[in-house]
Protein backbone atom coordinates (compact mmCIF):
# COMPACT_ATOMS: atom_id res chain seq x y z
CA UNK A 1 0.00 0.00 0.00
CA UNK A 2 1.51 3.31 -1.00
CA UNK A 3 1.04 6.04 1.54
CA UNK A 4 2.82 9.29 1.88
CA UNK A 5 4.65 9.44 5.19
CA UNK A 6 2.96 12.56 6.43
CA UNK A 7 -0.60 11.41 5.78
CA UNK A 8 -2.04 10.16 9.06
CA UNK A 9 -5.48 9.38 7.65
CA UNK A 10 -6.29 8.52 4.07
CA UNK A 11 -9.83 8.02 2.88
CA UNK A 12 -10.49 6.52 -0.52
CA UNK A 13 -13.83 6.48 -2.32
CA UNK A 14 -15.75 6.14 0.92
CA UNK A 15 -19.43 5.33 0.60
CA UNK A 16 -21.97 4.83 3.34
CA UNK A 17 -25.67 4.13 3.08
CA UNK A 18 -27.90 3.43 6.05
CA UNK A 19 -30.50 1.75 3.86
CA UNK A 20 -31.03 1.37 0.13
CA UNK A 21 -32.49 4.88 -0.22
CA UNK A 22 -30.43 7.13 2.04
CA UNK A 23 -26.85 7.62 1.01
CA UNK A 24 -24.89 9.51 3.64
CA UNK A 25 -21.59 9.40 1.78
CA UNK A 26 -21.31 9.14 -1.98
CA UNK A 27 -17.62 8.52 -2.55
CA UNK A 28 -15.37 10.73 -0.45
CA UNK A 29 -11.62 11.08 -0.89
CA UNK A 30 -9.72 12.94 1.80
CA UNK A 31 -6.33 12.80 3.44
CA UNK A 32 -5.30 14.35 6.71
CA UNK A 33 -1.66 15.29 7.24
CA UNK A 34 0.14 14.91 10.52
CA UNK A 35 -0.22 18.04 12.64
CA UNK A 36 -2.95 19.43 10.43
CA UNK A 37 -6.19 20.94 11.75
CA UNK A 38 -9.02 20.21 9.35
CA UNK A 39 -12.56 21.42 9.89
CA UNK A 40 -15.48 19.95 8.03
CA UNK A 41 -18.41 22.29 7.45
CA UNK A 42 -21.65 21.98 5.54
CA UNK A 43 -25.41 21.92 5.90
CA UNK A 44 -26.99 19.34 8.20
CA UNK A 45 -27.45 16.02 6.46
CA UNK A 46 -24.42 16.62 4.27
CA UNK A 47 -22.64 13.57 5.72
CA UNK A 48 -19.93 15.39 7.67
CA UNK A 49 -20.57 13.58 10.96
CA UNK A 50 -20.84 10.26 9.15
CA UNK A 51 -17.50 10.92 7.46
CA UNK A 52 -15.88 11.69 10.82
CA UNK A 53 -17.45 8.61 12.44
CA UNK A 54 -16.13 6.45 9.62
CA UNK A 55 -12.57 7.52 10.41
CA UNK A 56 -12.44 5.31 13.52
CA UNK A 57 -15.12 2.93 12.27
CA UNK A 58 -17.76 4.04 14.77
CA UNK A 59 -19.72 3.86 11.56
CA UNK A 60 -18.74 1.01 9.26
CA UNK A 61 -18.48 2.22 5.64
CA UNK A 62 -20.51 0.44 2.99
CA UNK A 63 -17.51 0.58 0.66
CA UNK A 64 -14.19 2.33 0.26
CA UNK A 65 -11.09 2.48 2.42
CA UNK A 66 -9.93 4.22 5.55
CA UNK A 67 -6.18 3.98 6.11
CA UNK A 68 -4.85 5.15 9.45
CA UNK A 69 -1.08 5.36 9.96
CA UNK A 70 -0.62 2.87 7.15
CA UNK A 71 -3.17 0.35 8.46
CA UNK A 72 -6.26 -0.37 6.43
CA UNK A 73 -9.08 -0.28 8.99
CA UNK A 74 -11.33 -3.29 9.14
CA UNK A 75 -14.03 -3.72 11.77
CA UNK A 76 -13.48 -7.50 11.87
CA UNK A 77 -9.77 -7.05 12.56
CA UNK A 78 -8.73 -7.63 16.20
CA UNK A 79 -6.28 -4.78 15.73
CA UNK A 80 -9.13 -2.26 15.52
CA UNK A 81 -9.14 -1.62 19.28
CA UNK A 82 -5.41 -0.86 19.24
CA UNK A 83 -5.89 1.57 16.36
CA UNK A 84 -8.91 3.27 17.92
CA UNK A 85 -6.84 4.04 21.01
CA UNK A 86 -4.74 6.30 18.84
CA UNK A 87 -7.78 8.23 17.58
CA UNK A 88 -9.37 10.25 20.34
CA UNK A 89 -13.03 11.05 19.80
CA UNK A 90 -15.14 13.82 21.30
CA UNK A 91 -18.89 13.57 20.89
CA UNK A 92 -21.64 16.14 20.61
CA UNK A 93 -23.42 14.66 23.64
CA UNK A 94 -20.19 14.29 25.69
CA UNK A 95 -20.89 10.63 26.58
CA UNK A 96 -19.12 10.79 29.91
CA UNK A 97 -19.69 7.67 31.98
CA UNK A 98 -22.27 8.78 34.59
CA UNK A 99 -21.46 6.00 37.05
CA UNK A 100 -17.79 7.01 37.25
CA UNK A 101 -16.19 10.09 38.78
CA UNK A 102 -14.29 12.58 36.64
CA UNK A 103 -11.03 10.93 37.72
CA UNK A 104 -12.32 7.44 36.91
CA UNK A 105 -13.69 8.62 33.57
CA UNK A 106 -10.18 9.68 32.59
CA UNK A 107 -8.18 6.82 34.13
CA UNK A 108 -10.48 3.96 33.06
CA UNK A 109 -9.05 3.34 29.61
CA UNK A 110 -5.35 3.92 30.44
CA UNK A 111 -5.68 1.42 33.29
CA UNK A 112 -7.79 -1.08 31.37
CA UNK A 113 -6.32 -0.87 27.89
CA UNK A 114 -2.74 0.33 28.42
CA UNK A 115 -2.25 -1.31 31.86
CA UNK A 116 -1.03 1.99 33.27
CA UNK A 117 -0.49 1.62 37.04
CA UNK A 118 -3.12 3.35 39.20
CA UNK A 119 -0.77 6.02 40.50
CA UNK A 120 0.62 6.96 37.11
CA UNK A 121 -2.90 7.11 35.69
CA UNK A 122 -4.00 9.41 38.51
CA UNK A 123 -1.06 11.74 37.92
CA UNK A 124 -1.85 11.78 34.21
CA UNK A 125 -5.51 12.60 34.93
CA UNK A 126 -4.45 15.40 37.23
CA UNK A 127 -2.23 17.02 34.62
CA UNK A 128 -4.87 16.64 31.90
CA UNK A 129 -7.52 18.22 34.11
CA UNK A 130 -5.13 21.10 34.73
CA UNK A 131 -4.77 21.45 30.98
CA UNK A 132 -8.54 21.81 30.54
CA UNK A 133 -8.85 23.98 33.66
CA UNK A 134 -10.86 21.58 35.82
CA UNK A 135 -8.43 20.36 38.50
CA UNK A 136 -10.90 21.08 41.28
CA UNK A 137 -13.53 18.79 39.73
CA UNK A 138 -11.44 15.64 39.93
CA UNK A 139 -13.69 13.83 42.41
CA UNK A 140 -17.07 15.02 41.19
CA UNK A 141 -19.51 13.06 39.07
CA UNK A 142 -20.50 14.05 35.52
CA UNK A 143 -24.03 15.06 36.49
CA UNK A 144 -22.66 17.78 38.76
CA UNK A 145 -20.86 19.42 35.84
CA UNK A 146 -22.12 22.00 33.36
CA UNK A 147 -22.18 21.11 29.67
CA UNK A 148 -18.97 22.98 28.97
CA UNK A 149 -17.22 21.28 31.87
CA UNK A 150 -18.46 17.87 30.72
CA UNK A 151 -17.06 18.45 27.26
CA UNK A 152 -13.70 19.56 28.67
CA UNK A 153 -13.55 16.38 30.78
CA UNK A 154 -14.43 14.38 27.65
CA UNK A 155 -11.50 16.01 25.84
CA UNK A 156 -9.19 15.18 28.77
CA UNK A 157 -10.48 11.60 28.74
CA UNK A 158 -9.67 11.23 25.04
CA UNK A 159 -6.22 12.79 25.54
CA UNK A 160 -5.45 10.28 28.31
CA UNK A 161 -4.87 7.64 25.65
CA UNK A 162 -2.17 9.85 24.10
CA UNK A 163 -3.84 9.81 20.67
CA UNK A 164 -2.17 10.73 17.40
CA UNK A 165 -5.30 12.41 16.10
CA UNK A 166 -8.39 13.91 17.74
CA UNK A 167 -11.80 13.63 16.08
CA UNK A 168 -14.38 16.20 17.19
CA UNK A 169 -18.01 15.55 16.25
CA UNK A 170 -19.83 18.87 16.69
CA UNK A 171 -18.27 19.36 20.12
CA UNK A 172 -20.12 22.59 20.92
CA UNK A 173 -23.50 21.95 19.30
CA UNK A 174 -25.16 20.71 22.50
CA UNK A 175 -23.81 23.57 24.61
CA UNK A 176 -25.44 26.75 25.87
CA UNK A 177 -23.90 29.72 24.03
CA UNK A 178 -22.03 30.98 27.10
CA UNK A 179 -20.20 27.65 27.39
CA UNK A 180 -19.02 27.36 23.82
CA UNK A 181 -16.02 29.62 24.43
CA UNK A 182 -14.42 27.52 27.17
CA UNK A 183 -14.50 24.39 25.00
CA UNK A 184 -13.19 26.18 21.91
CA UNK A 185 -10.34 27.64 23.93
CA UNK A 186 -9.27 24.16 25.07
CA UNK A 187 -9.40 23.02 21.44
CA UNK A 188 -7.44 26.09 20.32
CA UNK A 189 -4.66 25.25 22.82
CA UNK A 190 -4.60 21.71 21.57
CA UNK A 191 -4.25 22.90 17.98
CA UNK A 192 -1.43 25.27 18.97
CA UNK A 193 0.40 22.35 20.56
CA UNK A 194 0.47 20.61 17.20
CA UNK A 195 -2.25 17.99 17.70
CA UNK A 196 -3.71 16.60 14.49
CA UNK A 197 -7.39 17.44 14.60
CA UNK A 198 -10.45 16.77 12.47
CA UNK A 199 -13.39 18.89 13.55
CA UNK A 200 -16.99 18.81 12.40
CA UNK A 201 -18.45 22.13 13.48
CA UNK A 202 -21.01 24.85 12.93
CA UNK A 203 -18.74 27.46 14.54
CA UNK A 204 -17.64 29.29 11.41
CA UNK A 205 -15.47 31.91 13.08
CA UNK A 206 -13.66 29.19 15.02
CA UNK A 207 -13.17 27.18 11.82
CA UNK A 208 -11.78 30.28 10.11
CA UNK A 209 -9.40 31.01 12.96
CA UNK A 210 -8.04 27.57 13.87
CA UNK A 211 -8.03 25.50 10.66
CA UNK A 212 -5.22 24.80 8.28
CA UNK A 213 -7.79 23.51 5.84
CA UNK A 214 -11.55 23.77 5.58
CA UNK A 215 -13.60 21.07 3.86
CA UNK A 216 -17.07 21.96 2.63
CA UNK A 217 -19.46 19.03 2.21
CA UNK A 218 -22.92 18.74 0.70
CA UNK A 219 -25.06 15.73 -0.16
CA UNK A 220 -22.44 13.21 0.88
CA UNK A 221 -19.63 14.67 -1.19
CA UNK A 222 -16.75 17.06 -0.69
CA UNK A 223 -17.71 20.08 -2.76
CA UNK A 224 -14.68 22.23 -2.12
CA UNK A 225 -11.69 22.41 0.18
CA UNK A 226 -8.87 24.82 0.85
CA UNK A 227 -7.36 27.22 3.31
CA UNK A 228 -9.82 29.20 5.44
CA UNK A 229 -9.02 32.34 3.44
CA UNK A 230 -9.96 30.68 0.18
CA UNK A 231 -13.10 28.97 1.45
CA UNK A 232 -14.48 31.86 3.45
CA UNK A 233 -13.37 34.78 1.26
CA UNK A 234 -13.33 33.51 -2.31
CA UNK A 235 -15.18 30.19 -2.57
CA UNK A 236 -15.42 28.85 -6.11
CA UNK A 237 -18.50 26.68 -5.89
CA UNK A 238 -22.04 28.06 -5.92
CA UNK A 239 -23.15 25.70 -3.11
CA UNK A 240 -20.32 26.87 -0.87
CA UNK A 241 -21.24 30.51 -1.50
CA UNK A 242 -24.92 29.83 -0.78
CA UNK A 243 -24.13 27.97 2.44
CA UNK A 244 -21.74 30.63 3.73
CA UNK A 245 -24.23 33.35 2.89
CA UNK A 246 -26.91 31.53 4.87
CA UNK A 247 -24.75 30.98 7.97
CA UNK A 248 -23.41 34.52 7.96
CA UNK A 249 -26.97 35.85 8.08
CA UNK A 250 -27.63 33.85 11.25
Amino acid sequence: MQIKDNNIIEIKDLKKSFNSETHALNGVNLSIKKGEVVTIIGPSGSGKSTLLRCMNLMEVPTSGEVVFEGHLLNIKDKNINKLREKMGMVFQSFNLFPHLSVLENITLSPKLVLNTPEQAANILAQSLLEKVGLSEKINTYPNQLSGGQKQRVAIARALAMNPDVMLFDEPTSALDPEMVGEVLSVMRNLANQGMTMVIVTHEMSFAKEVSDRVVFMAEGLIVEQGTPEVIFSKPKEERTKAFLKRVSVL
Partner: protein, 229 residues
Protein backbone atom coordinates in the same frame (compact mmCIF):
# COMPACT_ATOMS: atom_id res chain seq x y z
CA UNK B 1 -73.33 -16.25 50.93
CA UNK B 2 -72.55 -17.18 54.46
CA UNK B 3 -72.27 -13.87 56.30
CA UNK B 4 -71.01 -15.37 59.53
CA UNK B 5 -67.26 -15.59 59.14
CA UNK B 6 -65.29 -17.72 61.55
CA UNK B 7 -61.55 -17.48 61.76
CA UNK B 8 -61.34 -19.98 64.61
CA UNK B 9 -58.89 -22.15 62.62
CA UNK B 10 -56.32 -19.48 63.29
CA UNK B 11 -56.41 -20.57 66.96
CA UNK B 12 -55.55 -24.10 65.97
CA UNK B 13 -51.81 -24.58 66.23
CA UNK B 14 -51.74 -27.30 63.58
CA UNK B 15 -53.44 -25.12 60.95
CA UNK B 16 -51.24 -22.15 61.71
CA UNK B 17 -48.07 -24.18 61.46
CA UNK B 18 -49.23 -25.60 58.12
CA UNK B 19 -49.89 -22.09 56.81
CA UNK B 20 -46.51 -20.93 58.07
CA UNK B 21 -44.73 -23.86 56.42
CA UNK B 22 -46.60 -23.16 53.20
CA UNK B 23 -45.60 -19.52 53.34
CA UNK B 24 -41.95 -20.48 53.83
CA UNK B 25 -42.06 -22.87 50.90
CA UNK B 26 -43.61 -20.15 48.74
CA UNK B 27 -40.82 -17.77 49.71
CA UNK B 28 -38.10 -20.35 49.08
CA UNK B 29 -39.49 -21.17 45.66
CA UNK B 30 -39.84 -17.53 44.66
CA UNK B 31 -36.41 -16.63 45.99
CA UNK B 32 -34.71 -19.52 44.16
CA UNK B 33 -36.63 -18.67 41.01
CA UNK B 34 -35.48 -15.07 41.02
CA UNK B 35 -31.85 -15.62 42.07
CA UNK B 36 -31.10 -18.71 39.98
CA UNK B 37 -33.45 -17.48 37.25
CA UNK B 38 -31.48 -14.22 36.97
CA UNK B 39 -28.23 -16.08 36.49
CA UNK B 40 -29.76 -18.46 33.96
CA UNK B 41 -31.44 -15.52 32.22
CA UNK B 42 -28.06 -14.06 31.24
CA UNK B 43 -27.73 -16.82 28.64
CA UNK B 44 -30.85 -16.07 26.55
CA UNK B 45 -30.43 -12.33 27.19
CA UNK B 46 -26.96 -12.19 25.65
CA UNK B 47 -27.92 -14.66 22.95
CA UNK B 48 -30.78 -12.39 21.86
CA UNK B 49 -28.51 -9.33 21.94
CA UNK B 50 -26.01 -11.06 19.67
CA UNK B 51 -25.86 -10.06 16.03
CA UNK B 52 -25.25 -13.74 15.22
CA UNK B 53 -28.55 -15.21 14.00
CA UNK B 54 -27.60 -18.72 15.13
CA UNK B 55 -27.53 -17.39 18.70
CA UNK B 56 -30.35 -14.87 18.64
CA UNK B 57 -32.99 -16.94 16.82
CA UNK B 58 -33.11 -19.92 19.26
CA UNK B 59 -33.16 -17.52 22.20
CA UNK B 60 -36.04 -15.59 20.66
CA UNK B 61 -37.94 -18.86 20.13
CA UNK B 62 -37.30 -19.90 23.72
CA UNK B 63 -38.51 -16.63 25.17
CA UNK B 64 -41.59 -16.46 22.92
CA UNK B 65 -42.61 -20.05 23.68
CA UNK B 66 -42.30 -19.58 27.43
CA UNK B 67 -44.09 -16.24 27.41
CA UNK B 68 -46.79 -17.47 25.07
CA UNK B 69 -47.89 -20.55 27.02
CA UNK B 70 -49.56 -20.76 30.45
CA UNK B 71 -47.25 -21.55 33.33
CA UNK B 72 -49.64 -24.28 34.47
CA UNK B 73 -49.08 -26.11 31.19
CA UNK B 74 -45.31 -25.70 31.49
CA UNK B 75 -45.27 -26.96 35.07
CA UNK B 76 -47.43 -30.02 34.38
CA UNK B 77 -45.50 -30.83 31.20
CA UNK B 78 -42.13 -30.67 32.91
CA UNK B 79 -43.45 -32.73 35.82
CA UNK B 80 -44.60 -35.30 33.30
CA UNK B 81 -41.35 -35.25 31.32
CA UNK B 82 -38.98 -35.43 34.28
CA UNK B 83 -41.02 -38.10 36.04
CA UNK B 84 -38.88 -38.26 39.18
CA UNK B 85 -39.95 -40.90 41.72
CA UNK B 86 -40.90 -39.80 45.23
CA UNK B 87 -37.94 -39.31 47.57
CA UNK B 88 -37.59 -37.08 50.59
CA UNK B 89 -34.91 -34.57 51.56
CA UNK B 90 -35.57 -32.70 54.79
CA UNK B 91 -39.19 -33.77 54.72
CA UNK B 92 -39.72 -32.36 51.23
CA UNK B 93 -40.79 -34.58 48.37
CA UNK B 94 -38.13 -34.01 45.73
CA UNK B 95 -40.23 -35.89 43.17
CA UNK B 96 -42.48 -32.86 42.92
CA UNK B 97 -40.18 -30.11 44.22
CA UNK B 98 -37.45 -30.61 41.57
CA UNK B 99 -39.73 -30.58 38.50
CA UNK B 100 -41.58 -27.64 40.04
CA UNK B 101 -38.39 -25.69 40.55
CA UNK B 102 -37.10 -26.56 37.09
CA UNK B 103 -40.33 -25.35 35.52
CA UNK B 104 -40.27 -22.19 37.59
CA UNK B 105 -36.64 -21.51 36.60
CA UNK B 106 -37.37 -22.02 32.94
CA UNK B 107 -40.31 -19.68 33.21
CA UNK B 108 -38.64 -16.97 35.26
CA UNK B 109 -35.40 -17.05 33.26
CA UNK B 110 -37.35 -16.29 30.08
CA UNK B 111 -39.09 -13.29 31.65
CA UNK B 112 -35.95 -12.06 33.42
CA UNK B 113 -33.89 -12.39 30.23
CA UNK B 114 -36.23 -9.86 28.65
CA UNK B 115 -35.78 -7.56 31.65
CA UNK B 116 -31.99 -7.81 31.33
CA UNK B 117 -32.07 -7.31 27.57
CA UNK B 118 -34.32 -4.29 27.91
CA UNK B 119 -32.09 -2.84 30.64
CA UNK B 120 -29.01 -3.21 28.47
CA UNK B 121 -30.69 -1.75 25.38
CA UNK B 122 -31.88 1.23 27.44
CA UNK B 123 -28.29 2.33 28.06
CA UNK B 124 -27.50 5.15 25.64
CA UNK B 125 -25.60 3.99 22.55
CA UNK B 126 -23.19 6.89 23.03
CA UNK B 127 -21.86 5.17 26.14
CA UNK B 128 -20.54 2.16 24.29
CA UNK B 129 -19.35 4.37 21.41
CA UNK B 130 -17.31 6.44 23.85
CA UNK B 131 -15.87 3.28 25.40
CA UNK B 132 -15.00 1.73 22.04
CA UNK B 133 -13.42 4.99 20.85
CA UNK B 134 -11.11 4.78 23.88
CA UNK B 135 -9.92 1.36 22.74
CA UNK B 136 -11.98 -0.82 25.10
CA UNK B 137 -12.98 -4.12 23.52
CA UNK B 138 -16.61 -5.26 23.45
CA UNK B 139 -16.31 -7.33 26.62
CA UNK B 140 -14.70 -4.51 28.62
CA UNK B 141 -17.33 -2.12 27.29
CA UNK B 142 -20.13 -4.46 28.38
CA UNK B 143 -18.82 -5.17 31.88
CA UNK B 144 -17.28 -1.80 32.80
CA UNK B 145 -19.62 0.63 31.09
CA UNK B 146 -22.93 -0.86 29.94
CA UNK B 147 -23.84 -3.40 32.64
CA UNK B 148 -23.18 -1.12 35.66
CA UNK B 149 -25.62 1.34 34.14
CA UNK B 150 -28.07 -1.33 33.01
CA UNK B 151 -28.36 -2.64 36.59
CA UNK B 152 -30.23 0.54 37.46
CA UNK B 153 -32.84 -0.30 34.84
CA UNK B 154 -32.88 -4.01 35.62
CA UNK B 155 -33.15 -4.01 39.40
CA UNK B 156 -36.58 -2.40 39.87
CA UNK B 157 -38.12 -4.62 37.19
CA UNK B 158 -36.55 -7.63 38.86
CA UNK B 159 -38.39 -6.71 42.07
CA UNK B 160 -41.67 -6.72 40.19
CA UNK B 161 -40.79 -10.12 38.76
CA UNK B 162 -40.18 -11.36 42.33
CA UNK B 163 -43.68 -10.22 43.31
CA UNK B 164 -45.17 -11.92 40.24
CA UNK B 165 -43.36 -15.16 40.96
CA UNK B 166 -44.50 -15.22 44.60
CA UNK B 167 -48.06 -15.19 43.34
CA UNK B 168 -47.41 -17.72 40.59
CA UNK B 169 -45.98 -20.30 42.98
CA UNK B 170 -49.61 -21.03 43.90
CA UNK B 171 -49.68 -23.15 40.76
CA UNK B 172 -47.50 -25.69 42.54
CA UNK B 173 -50.39 -27.02 44.56
CA UNK B 174 -51.19 -29.01 41.41
CA UNK B 175 -47.92 -30.88 41.83
CA UNK B 176 -48.35 -31.41 45.54
CA UNK B 177 -45.50 -29.07 46.43
CA UNK B 178 -46.29 -27.99 49.96
CA UNK B 179 -46.52 -24.26 49.29
CA UNK B 180 -49.15 -21.97 50.73
CA UNK B 181 -52.14 -22.95 48.57
CA UNK B 182 -51.38 -26.64 49.01
CA UNK B 183 -51.48 -26.23 52.79
CA UNK B 184 -54.70 -24.25 52.47
CA UNK B 185 -56.10 -27.27 50.64
CA UNK B 186 -55.13 -29.57 53.51
CA UNK B 187 -56.71 -27.34 56.15
CA UNK B 188 -59.80 -26.94 53.97
CA UNK B 189 -60.43 -30.67 54.05
CA UNK B 190 -60.94 -30.61 57.80
CA UNK B 191 -62.41 -27.13 58.28
CA UNK B 192 -65.76 -25.72 57.19
CA UNK B 193 -64.39 -22.13 57.09
CA UNK B 194 -63.39 -22.22 53.41
CA UNK B 195 -64.08 -18.56 52.63
CA UNK B 196 -62.11 -17.41 55.65
CA UNK B 197 -59.26 -19.70 54.68
CA UNK B 198 -59.02 -18.13 51.23
CA UNK B 199 -59.15 -14.66 52.75
CA UNK B 200 -56.27 -15.55 55.06
CA UNK B 201 -54.32 -17.05 52.14
CA UNK B 202 -54.81 -13.86 50.15
CA UNK B 203 -53.69 -11.74 53.10
CA UNK B 204 -50.60 -13.90 53.56
CA UNK B 205 -49.61 -13.43 49.91
CA UNK B 206 -50.21 -9.72 50.35
CA UNK B 207 -48.05 -9.75 53.47
CA UNK B 208 -45.18 -10.97 51.28
CA UNK B 209 -45.75 -8.88 48.19
CA UNK B 210 -46.75 -5.52 49.65
CA UNK B 211 -43.63 -4.89 51.80
CA UNK B 212 -41.55 -6.23 48.94
CA UNK B 213 -42.90 -3.72 46.44
CA UNK B 214 -42.41 -0.96 49.02
CA UNK B 215 -38.78 -1.97 49.45
CA UNK B 216 -38.31 -2.11 45.69
CA UNK B 217 -39.78 1.36 45.28
CA UNK B 218 -37.34 2.70 47.81
CA UNK B 219 -34.36 1.03 46.13
CA UNK B 220 -35.53 2.32 42.77
CA UNK B 221 -35.73 5.87 44.10
CA UNK B 222 -32.29 5.58 45.62
CA UNK B 223 -30.80 4.30 42.36
CA UNK B 224 -32.38 7.18 40.50
CA UNK B 225 -31.00 9.59 43.04
CA UNK B 226 -27.52 8.10 42.71
CA UNK B 227 -27.69 8.76 39.01
CA UNK B 228 -28.19 12.46 39.67
CA UNK B 229 -24.97 12.76 41.60
Amino acid sequence: MNTQLSFSFLLDWYSVSLLFQGLMMTLILAFLAVVLGSILALVPAFMRLSSNKFLSTPATFYVEIIRGTPMLVQVLLIYQLLNIPLFLIGGMDMGSFIPGLVALLINSSAYISEIIRGGILAVDKGQSEAARSLGLNSKQTMFKIVLPQAIKNIFPALGNEFVTIIKETSIFMYLGVAELMYQVGIIKSSSPAVTELYIVAGLLYLALTFPLSKVMNRIERRLRYADQR
